[in-house]
Each structure stands twice: as structure tokens, then as C-alpha cells.
């Protein structure tokens, strides 16, 4: 059955404008397109970085020049022209702001449109928001309160200046510069991101949160996030993004590094809603992200992601379970609609003994999209009694979309156990009719069914984020059954 002909709703909603497709009119301070040593020196100078940081960037640039863009993922796109991208853009207001009230009203309005009124967040949920527009952090709250506990939560630029030893010691230790093409590029040109340090035995009392947004036409955004949880500490970190509508492709190549020392726990949650492009995928964001965490003895890292945006996604939040008894978790909902392509999953590298990992992946494909799960579970030669459980479910909304699963399993220890379950199903006409008969609209029916399907993952998100994510799932799939 052709979805479009038989379902006027589908037609209507696939032509629906991207809900967050607005832009903010703020003067930007922007470097001309192109990438060379001079540009890197300029970025570093603008950010008033120390020499070691510049040297690190230049070395990364040398490495990047020798590398080739990977093409093994199940995605198809025209490779960006890296010399046509501008590698730095910062909002013009230069004076450091003491309070949120001093923030540019335009920018405040943007935050309001995104539904993250910072004050409201502050008052209602106790979330400290580090808002990144383009490349520079413009507002950081709750910093004093966190400082009392010895917790550092600031922009990466600030961390390089204020906490150089911590940054220098850990940066690039989980995702080495030469790990892949995009990590090398990011290392050379990253402009900002978040830095977080939780001291030994400390429990971060609030969810730390960052909202990212690409705002300048033709600006690549290269965030760099580093999160260090010292022995026995705990932190929950939220990251969410929406991007305004643009006609040219926007490259997003972030690197996130998590370090969980002995007995530490990090929860890292993402709701990703970059602009997916028009119905043909034109103009959408390319999201090529490297996210990885390392767990020392008995440490635990949980990745939870709800991915609905981007034209092309290439993303594998991973855990290196180095210490004995460490735990890695990956919970993911990836939605693709129209012409979106996603190749996403995780790597669980079990090095230590008695390490455990859990992977729950829920893919939802609508329109003409392609949605792939790619996962590696590796049991090393020391991984005695290591265990993994993987569950990969795919839900097809249309006959023209695709769902693919590429599980890789390598075991080098005879006692290691790996379980993999996979299902593929099509959204039931019967389920939808049942809902309609009870008085639900088709949109409500799909929202309800899809949220039910993804519940196991949504339940892993912190409360206030889960509400937002549910809404996002329904919006992303409105009228997309066929």
C-alpha cells in the first residue's frame, strides 16, 4: 500500500515545517570558511588558550590531514567540503555575565522558544543549565552551589583556562585524537563544550544539563565534552539539542569523553533533535559524533539516548569496561522519518573480569528512512565471567522505510556470556484502529503506541526529560503510518 496515497495525514505531516526551525538574529563573530593552521591558531588565540592547547590542536590537525572520511556506515550522503566550513562563530557580547538577567534578550527569547526558560528550569527542577549557542557558553547557573561541593561545571574554554591540569591530564585519553576522522577534526577545531568534574565521594545533587544549538548559517559546530567522576562519585548529565532550519548541510562532529573512576557512576542522557532536513533530506544536520566512556573498577556508565533529528546520524556511545566488576549500559530510541538515515548503536568493550553490559535499542523507521543498529560486544582475554545482554527491536511505520541490525560479537574468554535478541515488527493497523475506535485521533494513537514501544528506554531518562522526549517522539511521527 502506498502510504502517501492512502493516508492524507501522512502527506500533510511529512510536509509539515520543522517545529523548531526558527533562527535568532544576533550578530556573530565569525571566521571565514576554510581549515588550515592559521585558522586553528586564530581559534586558539580568540579563546586565549595556553600554548599546550594550541600545540595539541595543531598536532591533531596534522593527524586529521592523513585520515580519510569513513564510509562503512549504512548511510549515503555527499561528503562535506571541509574547506567550505567556517570553524568559529561566537555571539558578540564579550563581557562575562554575572547573572542570567544580563543575557541578550534575543537569546533569552530563543531559549524560551525552545521551551527551556532557564529561570523556570532553575525554579522548578533544580537543573543547572549551561546553554551553548553556536560555540560559546552564554549562561551558566548554579555554579556557586556546585562549587561548594567541589564540583566543577563550566564551559570547556573556561576549564582550559581555570583548570588546565585537569583538562590536560584527561583530554583525549578516552577518545584519542587519531581514533577516527571526526575525532581528529574535532580535536583540531573544537570551539567549546562542557567540562564537568565531580570530586571523590561526591554525589552531584542535581541533574547537570546542557542545551546545544547550531545558530549560524554554514557554521560547523564541534563540541568537546569532558566529564570526570572521581572515585565513588555520582553524576547525572543531560544533553538536548534542537537546531534551526537551514538550507545547507550543517556538520556536527562532537566528541564526548566520560571517565568513571573506581566505584563512580555516570548517567549520560541525550535528547537529540537536530534539524532533519526537508522531506528529501535536503538541508539537514550531519551528526557524526564520537562518545565514549571508560569505567574503572566497579564503576558504571549509562548512556540513554532519544534520537529523532539529523539528516544523517553516525553515533555509537560506547563503554570501555576496563575495571573488574564495571558496568556499561546503553538505552536508545532512534526515530527516522522522511529521508533521514541513522547508523547508531554502541560498543561494549569488556576488558575486566565480571564486567556486565546491557544494550536496549529501539529503532523506529517511518517515511523513506533507513535506520540501522550497529553494535559491538567484545569480550577480552581477561574478561572472565563477563556478561552482556542485547535487545534490538525495530518498528517499521511504512513499507518504504528500512530497519537494519548489524551486531558484532567477539569473545576471547570461554566463560564470557553474550545474549542477543532482535525483533522487527510493523506498527499494527489493528492497534491503531483499536485506539481510533476509543476516540483517539490518529496522531494520539501513534504517539501512544510508539511511546509504549519505547517505554523501557524512556523510563531510563530523568523525569523532566522523559516528558520532553515523549512529546518529541509523537511530534516526529505524526501521521507517519502507511
Amino acid at each position: 500500500m502506498s502510504a502517501k496515497e492512502d493516508n492524507p495525514l501522512l502527506d500533510e505531516f511529512t510536509r509539515k515545517e520543522y517545529e523548531f526551525g526558527f533562527t535568532t538574529d544576533i550578530e556573530a563573530d565569525k571566521v571565514p570558511p576554510g581549515l588550515n593552521e592559521d585558522v586553528i591558531r586564530l581559534i586558539s588565540a580568540k579563546k586565549e588558550e595556553p600554548q599546550w592547547m594550541l600545540d595539541w590542536r595543531l598536532q591533531a590537525f596534522e593527524v586529521w590531514k592523513t585520515m580519510e572520511e569513513p564510509d562503512w556506515a549504512h548511510v549515503n550522503y555527499t561528503k562535506p567540503d571541509y574547506q567550505a566550513i567556517s570553524y568559529y562563530s561566537a555571539p558578540k557580547s564579550k563581557v562575562p555575565l554575572g547573572s542570567l538577567d544580563e543575557v541578550d534578550p534575543e537569546m533569552r527569547a530563543t531559549m524560551d522558544k525552545l521551551g527551556i526558560s532557564t529561570e523556570e528550569q532553575k525554579r522548578l527542577s533544580g537543573v543547572a543549565v549551561d546553554f551553548v549557542m553556536d560555540s560559546v557558553s552564554v549562561a551558566t547557573s548554579f555554579k556557586d552551589k556546585l562549587a561548594e561541593l567541589g564540583i566543577i561545571f563550566c564551559s570547556m574554554s573556561e576549564a582550559i583556562k581555570e583548570h588546565p591540569d585537569l583538562v590536560r591530564k584527561h583530554l583525549g585519553t578516552v577518545v584519542p585524537v587519531k581514533d577516527n576522522f571526526f575525532s581528529a577534526l574535532n580535536s583540531a577545531v573544537f570551539t567549546d563544550g562542557s567540562f564537568c568534574y565531580i570530586p571523590k565521594g561526591s554525589r552531584c545533587p542535581m541533574e547537570l544539563s546542557t542545551y546545544f544549538r547550531i545558530n549560524e548559517a554554514g557554521t560547523g559546530q564541534f563540541e568537546r565534552t569532558l566529564l570526570i567522576a572521581e572515585e565513588g562519585s555520582y553524576v547525572s548529565y543531560l544533553e538536548g539539542c534542537t537546531a534551526p532550519q537551514r538550507d545547507e548541510n550543517q556538520l556536527h562532529a562532537a566528541v564526548v569523553e566520560l571517565i568513571a573512576k573506581d566505584d563512580a557512576e555516570i548517567k549520560y542522557s541525550t535528547v537529540q533533535n537536530w534539524y532533519p532536513g526537508d522531506a528529501e533530506g535536503k538541508g539537514g544536520v550531519f551528526n557524526f559524533v564520537t562518545k565514549r566512556g571508560i569505567c574503572e573498577t566497579r564503576a558504571k556508565i549509562s548512556w540513554t539516548q532519544v534520537e529523532t533529528g539529523s539528516a544523517v546520524t553516525w553515533k555509537y556511545p560506547s563503554c570501555i569496561l576496563k575495571g573488574d566488576g564495571s558496568v556499561g549500559e546503553f538505552y536508545s530510541v532512534a526515530v527516522t522519518n522522511n529521508a533521514q538515515q541513522a547508523d547508531t548503536g554502541t560498543k561494549m568493550v569488556h576488558l575486566g573480569a565480571n564486567t556486565h553490559s546491557t544494550i536496549i535499542s529501539k529503532g523506529i523507521s517511518a517515511g523513506n528512512s533507513q535506520n540501522s543498529y550497529r553494535g559491538l560486544v567484545q569480550m577480552g582475554p581477561r574478561a572472565r565471567n563477563a556478561r552482556n545482554f542485547s535487545q534490538c527491536d525495530s518498528l517499521l511505520m511504512t513499507d518504504t522505510s528500512g530497519a537494519h541490525t548489524f551486531p558484532y560479537i567477539e569473545s576471547k574468554h570461554p566463560t564470557a556470556q553474550v545474549e542477543h535478541e532482535a525483533t522487527t515488527s510493523k506498527i499494527g493497523e489493528d492497534q491503531i484502529f483499536y485506539c481510533l475506535q476509543r476516540g483517539l485521533t490518529e496522531e494520539q494513537a501513534i504517539g501512544l503506541i510508539v511511546n509504549g514501544y519505547a517505554k523501557e528506554v524512556l523510563n531510563k531518562l530523568p523525569m523532566e526529560f522523559a516528558v520532553e522526549a515523549r512529546k518529541l517522539l509523537s511530534i516526529s511521527l505524526e501521521g507517519s503510518v502507511g
Partner: protein, 252 residues
Amino acid sequence: MLKIVNLHARIGDTEILKGLTLELGAGKVHAIMGPNGSGKSTLASILAGRDEYEVTEGSITFEGVDLLELDATERAVAGIFLAFQYPVEIPGVSNINFLRTAINSIREQREEAPLSGKDFLAKVKACAQLVELDGKLRDRSVNEGFSGGEKKRNEIFQMAMLEPKLAVLDETDSGLDIDALRIVSHGVNSMRDPNRSFLVITHYQRLLDHIVPDHVHVLAGGRIVHSGGKELALELEKKGYDWILDAQAEKA
């Protein structure tokens, strides 16, 4: 309340209803019986607005409105409820959340204010008692892991919550043991009301011992071929359908 005139309908190339005419008054219980494949479930699906069926001729009017012009959601809003023969499972969606969404969606479309949490829960409590549905079933995912009897009780629970004007029960008695049958029938009987009509589709007389109909119709070959009072059901139980079908054949 409901008036069906000369209804012809098909699925694919197969014509299933071939000139069905039926009228239901307000507050009445009509039973439809008939051999397998006569079109009983098709009639239920068409009334609820399932779009695989194509109506080729005839009309359905519900309270003066052309029902065929309404989609499934609009029909639910208009007050039509179908108790499914095979209730559908919706994993991960709690029964309560499902019903709350349904009730408030209907209210919104009727331009009524949403039901408050307190009123909703009070109603849930009352309706659940009616069909002896325990708390666990109310909180579990819609029909997931329910036994056959639990699913049917859940249908009647939903009916009680939604308070339809016309309830179509499609073989609600199939797969029920004696106790479940009694519970389900009690639920239906409690809901009988001068402003509410029931169309009870069944294979068996035994349901009609519990839910006593005002009228009984025999559906065969896509048409109502015989109608009578409640005693017709007993006669059918004893004599089967052949005598009616034979009489039909003679007439033709």
C-alpha cells in the same frame, strides 16, 4: 437511533453484506445471530468505521447523521462503541493511561472540559467494580498478557467508562467461562438505559439467557433473513438455522 438500509459492502472482491436492513430504537437490545461467515463481524467493523470494508450501496444513519461520512474517531465521539471480538494488545501503554487519553480526546472533540484526575479515578473505581476488574489489570499494559476472559471484561470496563449511546458487542461471549460470562453480562445489564442501545452479536443462545434481548435477528448470506422476539433465540438453539434458510430458499 440507528437505521441501516439496504447495506452492501465488500472487502477486496468479496461481497459480504448484500442488502442488510436493520433498525434499532433507543434503549433497546438487539441480538444478531447467524451461521459462520454470514457477515456478523463485518457489520460490527463497518459500524465502527474500519476502512478495509467498502460500502458499495445503502446507508447507515445514526441519530439522523450519515454515519458513512464519519471516520472511526468521529464515530466514537458520536457515541458508538465496539467491544472487539479480539481485543488488541498495546505493549507499554497502561490501561489507565489509554482510557484517560481516550476519554479526554472524546471530551475535547465534543468541546467539553477534560475530566479531572479525581473524577476520572472515581469513575475508574466504579466501572472496575462493575466487571470485577482488579487493580493490577487496570495498571497493566492494554490487554497485554490478559487471559481471554480478562480481555473481554476489559472491553466492558472500557464501555462503562466511555458511556456510549450505541454499544456493539462482537462475540463478546466467545472464549468466556461461565463465571466470566456472568460478570460480563452483569456489566452490560447494569448499563442498560432508555438512551442506550445494544447490538449484541453472538453465536450462542447462552449469552442471551443473561443479556435478554428485545429483538433477535438472523443474519445469513449478508442479509437479515428473519427477525423475532427473544424466544427466537431459543428456537434457533433447538432447530439450528436450516429451517430459516430453507424457508428463504422457498420464498426465492
